[in-house]
Amino acid sequence: MLDVQFIRSNTFRWALAVAAVLAALVIGLFGFIYWKIDDYLITRSDRMILVQVDFIALLPPEQRITAVEDHLKEDSRGVQFAGLFDPKGGRLAGNLERVPEQLRIDDPAQSVQAKRIRRDLGDPVIRAIGRHLSNGDTLVVGRNVDETSEISHVVGEALALGLLPAFCLCLIGGAWLSLRGQKRVDEVNQRVQRIIAGNLRERLPHRDVDEPFSRLAVIVNGMLDEMEAMINALSGVGNDIAHDLRTPLTRARLVLERGRTNAGTLEQLQQIADKAIAGIDQALAIITALLRLAEIENSRRSAAFGSVALHEMLREICDVYEPIAEDKQIKLCAQIAEKLEVRGDRDLLFEAIANLVDNAIKFTPAGGNVEIALARSDKETVVRVSDTGPGIGQQETEAVLRRFYRSDKIRNTPGVGLGLNLVSAIVKLHDFRLLIHPGPGGRMEIICPDVRRG
């Protein structure tokens, strides 16, 4: 199983391909070198033959026989061939028995079969030149080029000696890379399996950062960090939900339990039922608020965005909340400097601002003021809701955006504790910003930057 995987592995196949290409290259290179050397050697020997032929041919006829004999005597390796023949083809001097049949006289050097006098040495193929001399004789000078085949043999040997180890090295390298890659994949797979099994702390292994595999691992680890944080946050929210749901449900349960034993009249029973329903309604309100929050957080910038006249909306909110503020002896007023519009979802923005106003009225003591203001600052439209209540402490400005966060000071004020989350989610959906200024005195701002056209 491992072997099959190993051979199938991409790395190994690549190594094999590289080895094959390398072998082809080396063979090609050696072939070229061989061909070049061969060519060079033949050209050189041809030149030498020509020099000798010319030299002997230019001698007076009587000296030629000696020259031939001298020439052959000088050759210790026995590679030189020469022959001087009379017009009838009879041998006058040299080690050739007769003029080779294929030899074209007076042509440049060519390869021919030599006929030696000494048969025991065999008849090698030689490069030779034949020349008709002025007195009718024929001169043949040749040279054995078996050397070149020797050289080719040497070259071939060198090739084999060089290529085999290189090829093996390639295969071993490929196998090593392939095995290493597979080992890392196995390692990663093990870790991933552990993550799937629920161990969210697990991370992928990585060595130095410059290696692609390690870089990938670092990227994946970054993603895992983010996901772990998100999942932890989510389970935190789950705990919060459980806690906040448990409170009203416990109350309802207690009321029902006590009522079942103690209630004597129908009226008492109805009272108990009302209390229990109130507790259940509170629990349902929490669920509704959470679902609404999820709905807003998961929705994308919708195509239904349109132009929202904030000045009109703020007046409307002021109208709606004015009687409520008045009941609490709070003065609610709107400071609207000019007509200002932003792009957005009207209903959602209404909900967000109404929520802020609702909060401001709820937390401002009787006799205080709540002010809604609409203003322009540098390239931004600002909706500000401020009040004379206690406001939010410096250390709480971030905490208030946590789900279900309720300041200890206001623990007894009714509410679900998700209002600001909702506002924050709506604001984020619009790419606006929510600014919470620390108290005393509440001051919340929704900053709507101008949308750049185009």
């Binding site: 009302d274 329903i277 349902l284 309100a285 669920i287 509704t288 679902l291 609404r292 999820a294 709905e295 109208d319 709606v320 909340y321 009687p323 409520i324 009941d327 209903d347 909900e351 109404a354 929520n355 609702d358 909060n359 009225i361 709820k362 509410g415 679900v416 209002g419």
Partner: protein, 225 residues
């Protein structure tokens, strides 16, 4: 006696709704799936229907669409599971139908069914009259007998809505949706505060009360006849 067709797959919920509606004098026919519901809607010709959004066999909205294609105009109240209110469901109100998200209070269901059965007649009259109260829709003035009632624009809208549906229970949710155009439930009890003011203006000292608070349910404008 109004005949109501209930298409709801959960037997226990259906039983409760049926019992409640029967107590109030409605004749209720129950169907537990979409296909059977559609057949009954065709054959029984109910005055109104209550349809669960998610049904086995055939989706609740599909049932309604099929009926509408056959020119059956029976008003429908769609019950939708929490968090599943999409544009298709929201669109129901535009077409004169209504929807309610689960879980709901029974009074809410009854109030909405009654509202559907007694859809206000879209009269072209420019004045509305309920008992001694008269509303001039052109002049935007309100009087009770000889006394002029001084109303703010939103109070006028609220009174107009209530006069079009006099002697009918109007729940807080209905009022929020229709008068305030709210798409969400505000934390503060807006409706009660505004209704308190309106009541103060409509029912003067010594006059018989017309606006009644129904505990735990909503409000009614009674015509005093």
């Amino acid at each position: 006696m109004a005949k109501i067709l209930l298409i709801e797959d959960d037997g226990e919920t259906a039983e409760e709704i049926t019992a409640e509606l029967s107590d109030r004098g409605f004749e209720v026919e129950w169907s537990s799936n979409g296909v059977d519901g559609l057949d009954k809607a065709r054959s029984l010709r109910p005055d109104a229907m209550i349809v669960d959004r998610l049904l086995p066999g055939m989706d609740g909205l599909t049932v309604i669409e099929a009926l509408r294609k056959e020119q059956v105009r029976t008003p429908v109240l769609v019950l939708s599971a929490l968090g599943a209110v999409d544009d298709r469901v929201r669109g129901l109100r535009m077409g004169g139908d209504d929807y309610l998200t689960k879980p709901f209070a029974v009074v809410e269901l009854i109030a909405r069914i009654e509202a559907l059965l007694r859809r206000p007649v879209d009269n072209r009259e420019t004045t509305l009259r309920v008992g001694p109260v008269e509303l001039d829709l052109i002049q935007r003035t309100a009087t009770r007998g000889d006394r002029t009632i001084d109303l703010l624009p939103r109070e006028f809208r609220l009174l107009e809505y209530m006069m079009r549906r006099s002697d009918q229970l109007l729940t807080r949710a209905m009022l929020l949706e229709e008068v305030w155009n709210y798409k969400f439930v505000p934390a503060t009890n807006l409706v009660d505060v505004h209704m308190g003011r309106l009541r103060h203006k409509v029912d003067g000292p010594g006059e018989p009360a017309m606006i009644h608070n129904v505990r735990g349910a909503g409000f009614i404008l009674r015509s005093l006849s």
